[in-house]
Amino acid sequence: MIVSNSVQYLQRKSSLICDILKRSSPSLALILFSSFFCIPVLIVCGSLFLPFDETWTHLVDTVLSDYVLNSFYLLIGVGFFSLLLSVVPAWLVTMYKFPGSRYLQWAILLPMSMPAYIIAYSYTGAFDAAGPVQTTIRDMTNLQYNEYWFPEIRSLGGAIAMLSFVLYPYIYLLARASFIEQSVCVLEVSRTLGCNALGAFKRVALPLARPAIIVGLSLVLMETLADYGTVQYFGISAFTTGIFKTWFGMDNSLVASQLSAILLLFVFVFLFLERRSRKLLTLHHTSNRYSPLTKEKLTGIRGFLSFIFCFTPLLFGFIIPVSFLVDWAINAYSQVFDIDFYRLFMNSIFLAFITSLLALFIALLLGYINRNNFSLVNRFLVRFISLGYAVPGTVIAIGVLIPFAWFDNKLDNFLITNFNTSSGLLISGTLFILIFAYLVRFLTIPINTVEASLEKIKPGVDEVAKTTGMSHFNLMKKIHIPIMRGSLLTCLLLVFVDVLKELPATLILRPFNFNTLAVRTFELANEERLAEAAVPALAIVIAGIIPVIIISNSISRSRPGYE
């Protein structure tokens, strides 16, 4: 009785609060909510207001230009190659049938389940001067090292290749979902107006998919900027190398945060300019009428070329590195595979699953309210959250740790002085803080995806729905979500796989006696025990493959009119 009374009371209270929030400003709650996720990035940026010490002079005099230039080359290279490997294959598998296209449309995604530092390790293990390939060359030809030409894997070019091979699926996935969402009428009209297939692609489909492609590209570029494992292993002095050398080597975490903050400013400006340019051409679906997509059949040389185009990224990003991993794992699995290993597997899946669901939910909330209530503060905050993706996980982790530990300690003090009990560290050191850190890092994926797909739905659709008296919630549930289904599934998958691979934040924030596959892989690989490391690395890949296949299929099916 008491319970039901208090429940009723709470319900009344909460509906009252909702009413107040709705009437005063519907976005007040949202502002509070989104600023919560901004704290870590704000902490990093806050370092800019602290004095710049003499370490800066040292950096400017010696290595800073190197850091900036190398990061710049990396961005250009990875940006170019990942676009090349993703956009055209996405278009080909959406619009055409050719040998293998049914399998390729999801298989192209497989490299995304591979952490960048793992592909770097496996290519190096195989193709480095000391690896089996070059050793065989030397043995067969009796040549010495340096007397023959062989591409150096551990170089700037190598790093660009490694990162492109595992990052291009981000663009592919978003581009393909966007192509699928496009009304075929638009394309047909363009054809009747005299566009050939290429013209329809260039002048209609590509501009319509541009927001999605740009979202994918910015994810790729931000991931490139945040990468530490690959550049460090390859000995490339990139910006992240600088951040950690300053922090760990010179014991100067302040300058390290200032470096990260400057990196963020650049990303912020880039994102801002990109959005400005997108504003100039607002594109909406003009029709929601979908007819079944009749895929044109490509045979002969055209079919073969299409196959090659789609197969190449898969070959280099997945088949080659995985076959090395399998080869190593066969010899080592008995040493690594035990009960503990099963727990690692489950831990990784659990974290990835929870985080991806939460991230999608939060993104829908933010994106949706943003669509309906224009507020500059909100837009700004949402942009700010997106920055988390460009920050190295270690830096974000500390940014998460600081406010939570501060809160925990304050609470503990308060309880001790007032109630004579101690709460210790309530939140720090739990899985909660780890998942929060993941959200701060990865929220940008669902936020941008949701936004990009919402943008394509004409505001008129909302207006018509509202005149019929449809509530916001129903509008979202019955109209928007079905249209966006493909994109939503896509970002669910992206976050899932990203969490599976995530290492630096996990390393710092995880609770006692709690490990993940990525942690185990890193520890073994870092000790240069590549054979043993191959086993958990393969497990990450396998854990990533299953959702890749499931979701890829449901994205194809998500298109209204799918046969």
Binding site: L59, A129, G429, V519, E523
Partner: protein, 335 residues
């Protein structure tokens, strides 16, 4: 329902409150420390909770967590990080007869804030087909013109290189060390990349003729279950540098007990356990490191490398000159 709840509470209580336990933040990888911690648990009944990661992020985490930090022990794989933690006043002085009697003074902190638990050396590995051991002298000699384009070493981001350079700064001063480093860099066979095993493999592959690496990596390769690793490791030889002067550069893996440790007694017990003959033997057998105490039988691989003289420089100097070492390497272009 009630019963389940009670037993659940008891279980949780048993896990977190009632049992004796000790919490470690460890920069040493799980595979390289957990087996000996498990043995400690079996022998004493004290549960060990472990998080592994990077020393500097742990130092930051301990600072941020303040007096409520759950950690009792910080375990690192180099002295400089221990010195750093001491400078930030994270450790407490430990009064343990065992620790201060069995560990030689130069392998522990002067105020007993931290203790070295195992020894590792940064040595020179060379290809005997191309280099005669008579030609090698030590670290300083590696700047000699005769080594042009023949040396492999990993990047200056790596703590082992930072500590080595810090030790040279302690011996020769910054100016001289910088002159040395700028010549050394021109002797590199390639831009520094990869880890220590990579450098050994590069010597085998003929990329370079000698490499500067930590000794246990070579031992690990010799003891590997992969035949090609063993074959590669057998093609190179180990050289103990600077035997006529200050001796080979040594560093420790070690640990300190945190100022706000909640399980201080258990933490002391654990450190004392780690310097028993049994544990020290384990370090030698499994991690190929040298013991910090006397009378321990070292593993056969270490034995094969013979006797040597080691640099007995006070290890806190490695911490003091760490930042100088990094800046120096930046200036001379040691990537």
């Amino acid at each position: 329902m009630k019963k389940i709840l009670i037993s659940l509470i008891l279980l949780i209580c048993g896990q977190f409150v009632c049992a004796a336990e000790v919490n470690i933040y460890s920069a040493r990888k799980e595979a390289l420390i957990k087996p000996i911690l498990d043995r400690f648990t079996t022998e004493t009944g004290i549960k060990v909770n472990l998080i592994t990661g990077k020393a500097d992020t742990f130092i930051k985490r301990i600072e941020v967590e303040g007096k409520n930090t759950p950690a009792d022990i910080l375990l690192t794989v180099d002295a400089a990080r221990l010195v750093r933690a001491k400078d930030k006043e994270l450790f407490q002085s430990i009064d343990s007869k065992i620790l201060s009697s069995v560990i030689p003074a130069h392998l522990r902190d002067i105020d007993n804030h931290w203790f070295g638990l195992s020894l590792r050396s940064r040595v020179i590995v060379y290809n005997p087909d191309k280099v005669s051991s008579n030609d090698i002298i030590g670290y300083i000699d590696l700047a000699n013109d005769k080594w042009k384009g023949r040396i492999c070493v990993r990047s200056s981001s790596n703590i082992y290189n930072q500590s080595l350079v810090a030790s040279l700064i302690a011996h020769h001063g910054i100016m001289e060390t910088e002159r040395w480093a700028s010549k050394l860099v021109t002797n590199f066979a390639r831009t520094p990349k990869g880890g220590d095993r990579d450098q050994i493999k590069a010597v085998v592959a003929g990329v370079c003729d000698l490499a500067i690496v930590n000794n246990y990596y070579l031992a690990g390769m010799l003891d590997s279950n992969k035949d090609e690793e063993v074959a590669a490791a057998e093609k190179v030889k180990l050289f103990w540098p600077d035997q006529d002067t200050y001796g080979a550069h040594f560093n420790v893996s070690g640990a300190g007990i945190l100022k706000y440790a909640k399980n201080k007694d258990e933490a002391i017990k654990l450190l004392e356990y780690l310097v028993t003959i049994e544990a020290q033997q384990w370090y030698s057998d499994v991690n190929y490191e040298y013991p910090v105490i006397l009378d321990v039988k070292i593993s056969s691989i270490l034995k094969k490398w013979g006797a040597f003289s080691m640099d007995t420089l006070a290890l806190n100097l490695l911490g003091r000159y760490n930042s100088d070492a990094v800046k120096l390497m930046d200036r001379v272009g040691w990537k």
